[in-house]
């Protein structure tokens, strides 16, 4: 099957819905799924090297006066809280001044901003997601060609720290430590893409056929239940189908990945290690970032989400009774310094961790450049100034060149435009067939052309 | 935590009435905070107290291996000059001096001795006889599972290794005046106290490993005999700052010292005491301005560290300790350390241990015998104990009796 997925999909969708553009992702349950997704891989890649996408999240924002660059365009100035990204600044674009519009809905602390950025809409109830998160949409589009449609990671040891949702009840749980990441990717089922001899393992055939039998129960079951139960069971069957496809991939020789090197298994985290301690968190995150880089280089996934700290930023310093989040609300602005020193400390540390991730991707040589050159990462927080849970001027950054489709190293000011312009841009760059995105007043048709090549 | 202790420092009256009420209600156990008149502590380390000078403030004694090396001819010395030849040097020393090791199962074993079983002294001699040990020589070592004949099992056979061993003759040492006299061989304490009896330090004071382990900053953070700690329980306390009459019990436990997530000893853990009466002692004491001082009492403190299991016998021991509001205790234990238990400690170190710690067993043994000053045996006219001072640190704990063997309600 050589027809590029993007146009085939748009053909189908436009035909089916009379030309109206689709603004939500449909579950892959339907006919859009190829045999084994290789067409997806090729189309979105556009060439030999696949393009990857990822999100990086840190909680509790920043202090605008100390984070926002003043000059725009290339070679932007680096304010104090961004000092940590200096070694990788040339790879990073800063997108400032983009707002989440609440349209009169409640500002749910540490929820609205995050959901606004990732789903393009806000809701009044913390449990409600009005659209899937953009990483899910991108994974639906390009993730089918990989062993893992997407990879959800968190650095805090907690598998519930995830902002990847298909809907309000289906959060994609994360892999929260480096050793579990290793076991999942490079463990027993890992197929080294560069191993010369390849023999399909009959166990995968057996497992696939068993799963297929499971899938066949679908019709009978769905007729027995009501509408909302049907949705839930359908989601389950989609997951079954995805596993089948994954097993099918195991039966094929994986495409060669020149940069792939199986890393050493990392040590498991010592029992009792407090991952809310920022040093421990940064260390676990760095290890996970390096493992993630190799995961991407070995084509085990094309889409990832890394949550450095949850939106209520549970980071702490040992011995300090007040952690990051509490400090954002409770710490007085120091009269001499003019800002909250503890908050400043943690915000700066988060930016250093972001630089660790970017560096990890930039350290892997791939093709004529690096892994980062073939990746696009969107970093963002849930708010700007956390003291008041401000969802205007949400800090966002892009890293990587997305295979040459994106210009890195720029500072773009949003001037109050909705954050969905960023979400739309990244989806288009990654080949999702969408020309508008966002709900209510955040609905937009304008990507950020300054970063597009 | 300090604020909890405050409750007992200042509100003794209230606490006492809690105890009364507790006594009245049936089937009720300890109140929150347990009995206010009992304060127990688990000791994380008991070490030979050093007066505080740096370890290399004065020339240190050579260990057995160094003495042996110096006895070699220049040509031979050249063969073993570099540190990578150290092991070969030790082996040459063992060969030339005639050390022997025989482990049942690996060496000729008399009938009836099972490899790996604990050996009695008689069995060690039997094994020795079968494996070429000198007549009548051979002792159980390595946790009593191996028979050995070395300069540490029989120091008296190797006088050459005792050559040049110097005792410490500095003026200052830790401790107290145990015999009431002020003589020429006494020290002055760090605070100027006269007549301090600490002959042990005379023997140890120039041995590198003892000088170093006396470094307080390190000693306070180290755990020794962690699996077999000592518990000190102070009871009948009406006032933790000043009380003319309190009871002090010293116990042993086989519960390992519990550490908190930071690696320090956790406070308020319950330790089951060993019922063996030999490991229990009781004495009286008084507290003045927060410092406890006890009457003399004979102690037998368990000490199990790595391969060493050498209980410390200390006669007429006195405990002087500062009890702090933060739940910690720091103090000294001063008395007459029995020579038999010190010899046992040194012997269990093994020749290998002595070699790696730069110790000459014959030198140390001779020095101890020479400077010992306590409990003269009327028959042999030799002293059997030596004045010593040890320091300790600990944290608040609970000493509990072993469970009754009756059916418990359980949950």
């Amino acid at each position: 099957m050589t027809r590029p997925t993007a146009s085939r999909r748009s053909f189908l969708l436009k035909g089916a819905l009379g030309g109206a553009a689709v603004t939500v992702g449909l579950p892959i349950l339907d006919l859009f799924l190829d045999n084994n997704g290789t067409a997806f891989a090729k189309a979105a890649g556009g060439g030999a090297l696949p393009i990857r996408f990822g999100t990086w999240f840190w909680g509790c924002g920043m202090i605008p006066e100390r984070w926002l660059p003043t000059t725009t365009g290339a070679n932007y100035d680096l304010p104090v809280q961004l000092a940590g990204i200096k070694p990788v600044q040339q790879h990073i674009s800063v997108l400032s001044g983009f707002d989440v519009n609440l349209d009169g809905k409640s500002n749910l602390p540490h929820v609205s901003g995050n959901i606004g950025v990732r789903t393009g809409g806000v809701a009044d109830d913390w449990r409600v997601i009005r659209a899937p998160t953009l990483d899910v949409l991108i994974a639906d589009s390009i993730g089918g060609g990989s062993v893992n449609r997407s990879l959800d990671l968190s650095a805090d040891g907690n598998p519930r720290t995830s902002y990847s949702y298909r809907d309000g009840a289906s959060m994609n749980a994360t892999v929260p430590t480096a050793s579990e990441l290793y076991a999942k990717i490079f463990g027993a089922d890992f197929q080294d893409p560069n191993k010369a001899d390849f023999k399909p393992d009959p166990r995968y055939m057996a497992r696939k056929s068993v799963l297929s039998a499971v899938g066949e129960q679908r019709r009978a079951l769905l007729t027995r239940v009501g509408a909302s139960d049907r949705q839930r069971l359908d989601q389950y069957f989609t997951s079954v189908r995805e596993m089948e496809d994954k097993l099918a991939l195991q039966l094929q020789k994986p495409p060669r990945a020149e940069a792939c090197m199986v890393p050493q298994a990392p040590a498991a985290i010592k029992a009792g290690t407090d991952l809310t301690d920022f040093e421990a968190r940064k260390a676990n995150h760095k290890l996970m970032a390096e493992m993630l880089a190799m995961t991407l280089a070995c084509n085990q996934t094309r889409v990832f989400n890394m949550t450095f700290s949850n939106s209520a930023a549970d980071l702490r310093q040992a011995g300090n009774p007040t952690g990051y989040h509490q400090s954002t609300h409770e710490e007085l602005i120091d009269a001499k310094l003019g800002y909250q020193p503890t908050v400043d400390f943690f915000a700066t540390r988060c930016m250093e961790a972001w630089a660790d991730l970017v560096q990890a991707l930039a350290s892997v040589k791939e093709g004529d450049g690096t892994l980062l050159d073939n990746t696009l990462v969107l970093a963002h927080s849930d708010c700007s100034f956390a003291k008041n849970h401000e969802v205007s001027r949400i800090p966002m950054m892009l890293a990587g060149r997305a295979g040459g489709r994106v210009k890195p190293g720029l500072h773009i000011k949003g001037g109050g435009d909705p954050v969905t312009r960023v979400g739309l841009t990244v989806q288009q760059v990654m080949g999702v067939s969408v020309d508008a995105w966002g709900l209510d007043s955040m609905h937009t048709t304008r990507p950020i052309s300054e970063v597009l090549v | 935590m300090g604020s909890l202790a405050n409750g007992y420092w200042k509100q003794g009256g209230v606490a006492a009435s809690l105890v009364l009420v507790a006594g009245m209600s049936t089937a009720a156990d300890a109140p929150t905070g347990a009995r206010p008149d009992v304060h127990a502590f688990v000791l994380s380390n008991i070490w030979f107290a050093s007066p505080g000078e740096p370890a290399n403030a004065l020339p240190l004694n050579d260990g057995g291996v160094e003495i042996f090396y110096k006895s070699l001819s220049p040509e031979e010395q050249a063969k073993y000059a570099t540190s990578d030849k150290r092991q070969a040097l030790e082996q040459e020393m063992a060969r030339r001096l005639g050390f022997k090791i025989a482990a049942p199962g690996r060496s000729k074993t008399p009938a009836g001795i099972v490899p790996g079983a604990m050996l009695t002294p008689e069995q060690a001699l039997e094994i020795g006889a079968l494996n070429g040990f000198p007549k009548g020589r051979g002792k159980p070592t390595y946790q009593n599972r191996t028979a050995a004949y070395t300069s540490c099992t029989n120091p008296e056979d190797f006088p050459a290794l005792a050559e040049g061993f110097r005792t410490y003759d500095g003026p200052v040492a830790m401790g107290m005046n145990l015999d009431g006299k002020v003589t020429r061989e006494d020290f002055v304490g760090p605070n100027g106290e006269k007549g301090v009896d600490n002959q042990l330090w005379r023997a140890f004071g120039r041995v590198k490993v003892f000088r170093e382990s006396g470094n307080e900053a390190i000693a306070k953070k180290s755990f020794m005999s962690m699996g077999a700690p000592t518990i000190v329980e102070i009871s009948d306390v009406d006032d933790m700052r000043n009380d003319p009459q309190v009871t002090v019990k010293v116990y042993a436990s086989s519960d390992a010292v519990t550490r908190d997530p930071r690696g320090q000893a956790l406070q308020r853990v319950s330790y089951t005491i060993i019922p063996d009466r030999q490991l229990q002692s009781t004495t009286t004491g008084s507290i003045r301005d927060g410092v406890l001082m006890t009457e003399p009492v004979d102690l037998r403190l368990q000490y199990k560290e790595q391969i060493v299991d050498a209980p410390r016998e200390i006669r007429a021991a006195r405990i002087r300790a500062e009890i702090r509001e933060d739940g910690t205790i720091e103090g000294e234990l001063m008395g007459y350390y029995s020579l038999a238990s010190i010899w046992d400690l040194i012997e269990q170190m093994t020749q290998a241990g002595a070699n790696s710690n730069q110790i000459s067993c014959p030198g140390l043994r001779r020095a101890l015998d020479e400077v010992a000053d306590g409990y003269m045996d009327p028959k042999t006219k030799k002293y059997t104990a030596i004045s010593a001072a040890m320091k300790f640190v600990g944290v608040r704990a609970f000493a509990v009796m072993p469970e009754q063997r009756t059916a418990e309600l359980g949950s």
Partner: protein
């Protein structure tokens, strides 16, 4: 090529199917996947605890269940209610699959196969089909919680035989199919089937509801038999099984499961405290504190069949050595025992259990607000609205303030600022009563040198300290009413609708008459015909086809 032409030809069908899909998906409406109010759900995902106990019952407790579970979702305060809201994500299914393969491998290994499989291919049964049939006939009904038709058993056996050919060993084939069963929706979900007449669920569904409610595990052989022969469809038959299950020691498992969910004790698994400020708190201590609370409750409501309200004043605490440092008491017994604090001791009642005290605190200090909100929300079923997003704390919270030493003093602004006071007046006094217990649950009388004031008012009654507050809560009708509605919601896995209101009210009255005994309440629910009502699904369009089902042989 085939795919394309079929698509073009079927685009009309595709259009309607896609439109139907869009309507069903409903992303443009602001609702989550909550069970629709007019049609309670019939599909409940097994919780992690239920999965584990089911496997232990079917294959024995020494089978290790290893892996990560898809997190359970807490809806309206209960994981049990979340079971009707969740599905299974792709990553989650991968985990279930891995866990299932681990279990299946153990079932067929040398240590277990004799007992659990008990047969092998031999001269009379060369490919092992008979053996496989007998195995699935035995194990299938236990895993799927219903009878299996002979055709189903035959299909499973033949799948095992073909898998065996692929992987090379009979055991390999058997375990592959067994793993598939544990990945099947009939295992992972409890799906109700209608009984005769359609008003109630069928016998097997009743058995599942009853068993997961009273014992938190799958129905045992006896209960499955009662379902098969229709006994559960008669009041006498149902009562007999309920009596049997309530008299069993396994009732403890069900009671523990309810209270662990109700009190949200699963959060203790991820609870961390600052190690410098609370060195006595560790993950092992957190686990012990959780266990303590559950054992304390079981001792009271099961072993002694006591009055639920007394949990708020009881000084009987399950105790073990690991908790000695937190409670500052000597512990001489090994294992668990019941420790009774003396009369007038500040430790008194559920609110002074270390688990709840530590859960509703920050990692480095206490939080009267969190404790107050927790008490109100969990134990009184009273929701507190979230704080406004633009709260400005710049005047209020400075821990090192030399004049505002205690937490009470630092929280003054909660009460003087009218915007804050509306909520904080209700929440803070409860938490302030508990301030003598620090963030790890240890008792103290002063904070930074100042005596802690634990006086306050609740529902217009004065109290001084946690013990007196416990007495007031004991008398509050809201406390017992909240328990009844929580047990109802737990058992049914959903919130009550308008049709259930009368039923729930009757249960509250009955609970009072029965002396507030939790076991009596559980029996009432287990015998209530409404508990077994079938929720008729609305008629639906034909489910959209999946590509795989239209092309034979594509996936083999």
């Amino acid at each position: 090529m085939k795919l394309k032409s079929r698509l073009v030809a079927g685009s009309g069908l595709l259009l309607s199917a896609v439109l139907a899909m869009t309507a069903v998906v409903g992303f443009d409406r602001a609702t989550a996947r909550e069970p629709e109010a007019d049609a309670p759900s019939n599909v409940r995902r097994l919780t992690e605890a239920q999965y584990r106990s089911t496997i232990a019952d079917v294959f024995g407790p020494d089978i290790k269940v290893v892996g990560r579970f898809e997190p359970d979702l807490r809806v309206e305060g209960l994981l049990a209610v979340g079971t009707t809201a969740v599905s299974i994500t792709p990553a989650g299914l991968e985990h279930y699959d891995a866990i299932a393969h681990g279990i299946a491998a153990q079932v067929t290994d040398a240590n277990h196969r004799e007992k659990l499989v008990g047969c092998a291919p031999n001269a009379q049964d060369v490919d092992g089909a008979q053996c496989a049939k007998s195995f699935f006939a035995r194990v299938g009904p236990r895993l799927y919680r219903r009878a299996l038709a002979p055709a189903e058993i035959r299909a499973l056996a033949s799948a095992a035989v073909s898998s065996a050919k692929l992987v090379g060993t009979f055991d390999g084939g058997l375990s592959t199919v067994l793993a598939g069963m544990m990945t099947s929706p009939e295992f992972l979900f409890r799906i109700d089937a209608p009984g005769k007449g359609g008003a109630q669920v069928d016998g097997y569904s009743k058995a599942s509801r009853l068993s997961y409610f009273l014992w938190n595990t799958a129905p045992d052989e006896a209960l499955l038999k009662a379902a098969a022969n229709g006994a559960l469809d008669t009041p006498e038959g149902l009562a007999k099984e309920v009596d049997r299950m309530m008299a069993s020691p396994r009732l403890t498992d069900g009671v523990r499961a309810f209270f662990a969910d109700f009190l949200r004790l699963d959060d203790m698994a991820t609870l961390t405290k600052d190690t410098l400020l609370y060195p006595a708190f560790s993950p092992a201590v957190a686990e012990a504190a959780r266990e303590q609370t559950l054992r304390t409750i079981v001792d009271h409501v099961v072993t002694r069949d006591g009055d639920y309200r007394d949990l708020f004043t009881s000084r009987r605490f399950a105790m073990t050595k690991a908790l000695g440092p937190i409670y500052d008491i000597p512990v001489s017994k090994s294992g668990w025992y019941i420790h009774e604090f003396p009369e007038n001791d500040p430790r008194s009642g559920l609110l002074t259990q270390a688990s709840l005290l530590a859960l509703h605190s920050h990692p480095g200090r206490t939080s009267p607000t969190l404790r107050g909100v927790g008490t109100l929300e969990i134990l009184l079923c009273q929701k507190t609205p979230p704080p406004p997003p633009d709260v400005n704390f710049s005047v209020v919270q400075d821990v090192n303030n030399p004049t505002l030493k205690t937490t009470r003093e630092r929280l003054q602004a909660h009460l003087t600022n009218e915007q804050c006071a509306t909520c904080h007046r209700a929440t803070d006094p409860i938490g302030l009563a508990l301030e003598q217990f620090d963030g790890a649950g240890t008792f103290r009388t002063t904070e930074r040198g100042d005596r802690i004031d634990v006086s306050g008012k609740f529902e217009r009654q004065d109290f001084n300290g946690a013990a007196e507050l416990g007495k007031i809560l004991r008398q509050s009708p809201r406390v017992s009413s909240c328990l009844v509605s929580s047990v109802w919601r737990y058992a049914n896995g959903r919130d009550p609708g308008p049709a259930d209101a009368a039923d729930v009210e009757a249960m509250k009255r009955r609970f009072t008459d029965d002396g507030y005994r939790v076991t009596a309440l559980m029996r009432t629910i287990a015998l209530d015909p409404e508990f077994y009502a079938y929720s008729r699904p609305q008629p639906s369009p034909e489910p959209k086809r999946q590509a795989s089902q239209d092309k034979k042989g594509r996936n083999s």
